[in-house]
């Protein structure tokens, strides 16, 4: 095991980076594909159906127990992938060919680039410090994720426009308006978290690893995940995340009931498949960020940080505290949480019907954005009162203002826009 570590350390840093990058991509891509199968299975089970369970290549049919994999539809995944690669990749005659071909590639770029700034786990080094597993541990991690993923909208705009056809165009227009609208509330909703993290006198940071670190402290408030501290922010972020990833109930850009297939109507084969994988990659990155910020990252449970678990493992056997083991453990916990979030995405998709486009816009601008701003103001005030130790009177004033504002928004049964 040590040999592996030494071999790894002996590699050129550039080569290390390339291998790490490839490893992450090598996980994201198949996970995107597998998610499509899971989506089919989950939807089927929720609807009382068995889902895909037919495909079985004849040359493996003799393997005992293979029928379980068959019932789980694993070979459908292979068949779907194979189909994507080998079916005829038609290029309609009326499209703008350059942008038409560019769009799926553009869709993949932000999906894969954002991974670099997302910590995927952590290990405890010899000095006892928790070191995050991250490709580029930059100070402004969250901003990098937001910035790069905001470029994802170009894929939809370009696909819609280059298709030179009504429905894709409408899909592209919808997508761009929706993504820009919800980016605001999304960004605003995470600011309280970092206000909370960046205590006075400390180092200013936007690092996601720092956010996890903050949730792994000892003590009641220290081990508390942010979902408990600022639930409104978490909800606003989650809803915006659904909108940003174009998932139901916000998949206005596809809207097969009214737009055939939305921006990807004219696409087929692997070009379409890239959009598909990009959507799942977006979901995964978004879920990862959500979990890092609000659900304690790679900590198994609230108030039970990873380091505590490592302590327990050390009590069982010192071998288990080896960085590789701990790294894999944290990675497992984190990926498990992310996959559960993916499941939540599917769960919501097969529960809630699609919004109308005017409802989407109304919710974004008239509900979520004011809510995010109010949330930000509330926590700014709260943090100020806490840090400056202004005393009970100010707490009482904040409580009164909050209650009054809440009453003003919700007490009036008339459907006035909130705030």
């Amino acid at each position: 095991m040590t040999a592996i570590v030494e071999l790894w350390n002996s590699l050129h840093p550039m080569l290390q980076a390339v291998i790490k990058g490839l490893a992450v991509i090598g996980v994201i891509f198949p996970l995107g594909g597998a998610s499509s199968l899971v989506e089919r299975k989950v939807s089927a089970w929720m609807q009382g159906r068995p889902g895909p369970n037919r495909a079985l290549p004849f040359w493996v049919a003799w393997v005992p127990g293979i029928s379980l994999l068959q019932r789980l539809g694993v070979f459908h995944l292979l068949a779907d992938g194979g189909k994507m690669f080998f079916k005829e990749d038609s290029l309609p005659g009326h499209v703008n060919k350059f942008y038409f071909l560019l769009a799926p590639v553009v869709a993949m770029i932000p999906a894969l680039t954002t991974v670099t700034a997302v910590p995927l786990g952590a290990y405890v080094d010899e000095a006892g410090r928790v070191v995050p597993l991250i490709l580029a541990n930059v100070d402004i991690g969250l901003l990098a994720v937001f910035a790069v993923s905001s470029l994802g909208v170009y894929a939809l705009i370009l696909a819609g426009w280059a298709s030179n056809s009504k429905y894709p165009f409408l899909g592209g227009v919808r997508a761009s308006a929706q993504l820009i609208s919800y980016e605001l509330s999304m960004t605003l909703s995470v600011i309280p978290v970092f206000l909370w993290i960046n205590v006075p006198g400390g180092e200013g940071t936007l690092s996601l690893a720092k956010a996890v670190e903050f949730q792994s402290q000892p003590g009641f408030l220290g081990g508390m995940w942010f979902i408990f501290i600022m639930p409104i922010a978490a909800i606003v972020f989650l809803v915006s995340l659904f909108a940003e990833t174009n998932r139901l109930p916000f998949d206005m850009a596809e809207g097969e009931a009214d737009l055939v297939g939305g921006f990807h109507t004219e696409y087929g084969a692997m070009k379409w498949g890239l959009f598909f994988v990009a959507e799942y990659a977006h979901m995964m990155i978004g879920s990862a960020v959500f979990i890092l910020l609000f659900f304690g990252g790679w900590n198994p449970l609230p108030w039970i940080p990873l380091s505590l678990v490592v302590g327990w493992l050390g009590a069982v056997s010192p071998v288990l505290t080896h960085p590789i083991i701990v790294g894999l453990l944290s990675l497992g916990i984190f990926v498990g949480k992310v996959l559960f979030m993916i499941f939540v995405f599917m769960w919501v998709r097969w529960t809630v019907p699609r919004f109308r486009y005017d409802q989407v816009m109304k919710m974004g601008w008239q509900k979520l954005l004011p809510l995010a701003i109010g949330n930000l103001l509330f926590y700014a005030a709260a943090i100020a009162i806490r840090d400056l130790q202004l005393g009970v009177a100010y707490w009482a004033a904040l409580a009164v203002v909050t209650v009054a504002a809440t009453w003003a928004i919700f007490a009036n049964p008339l459907q006035k826009p909130a705030l």
Binding site: V138, L143, A147, S150, L151, G172, S176, I180, G204
Partner: protein
């Protein structure tokens, strides 16, 4: 290595900026602008100004250019339909060029040569402190200007879209046999 990356990004930035001006198709121009911004962000990263780079990407590349594209696609501008190079454009070009030279010169004499003195990577905290202390007034002024511009746009677009509804033409249209 760093030089190679710098020249690559510089070439990308300048080349696509030139393409923005020279391109006849508005969509192409907007996308070249995007490329130029990405290149600029890369240059910022080389200068260890990662925050600036990603804010640039987030605000300009992610939102502003997307809105440009949005408008261009909705208006369906046909390439080659713009007006010829007029006197006003020439004057604007001369003025802009002069400003560029002055600005570059000012920046050149005010900036210490590379490699000298305390070159500290600007942290998030530095930016925040400067923004909320030294540059608080400019930030607020710029914010108000943007607000005023936004309100102006809303008022202008409202008036134009409502004009035919209250105008005489509509009444007459109703009376037409």
């Amino acid at each position: 290595m760093a030089d190679f990356v710098f020249y690559t990004f510089a070439l990308l930035t300048l080349g696509s900026a030139l393409a923005v001006v020279l391109n006849k198709d508005a969509v192409n121009a907007a996308l070249c602008l995007l490329l130029s911004l990405v290149g600029l962000a890369g240059l910022f990263v080389l200068l260890d100004a990662a925050l600036l780079a990603f804010v640039l990407l987030l605000v300009y590349a992610g939102a502003v250019v997307a809105l440009f594209l949005f408008i261009i696609m909705l208006l369906d501008t046909t390439p080659g339909a713009q007006k010829p190079f007029g006197k006003l454009s020439a004057a604007a070009a001369v003025l802009g060029g002069a400003l560029l030279v002055v600005g570059a010169h000012t920046v050149g004499i005010n900036t210490p040569a590379t490699g000298s003195a305390a070159h500290v990577a600007p942290s998030l905290k530095n930016y925040a402190e400067l923004l909320f202390t030294t540059y608080l007034l400019p930030v607020q002024i710029v914010g108000f200007m943007l607000l005023i511009a936004m309100l102006g746009v809303i008022v202008l677009s409202k008036r134009f879209s409502e004009a035919p509804e209250t105008g005489v033409g509509r009444l007459e249209a109703g009376k037409a046999p």
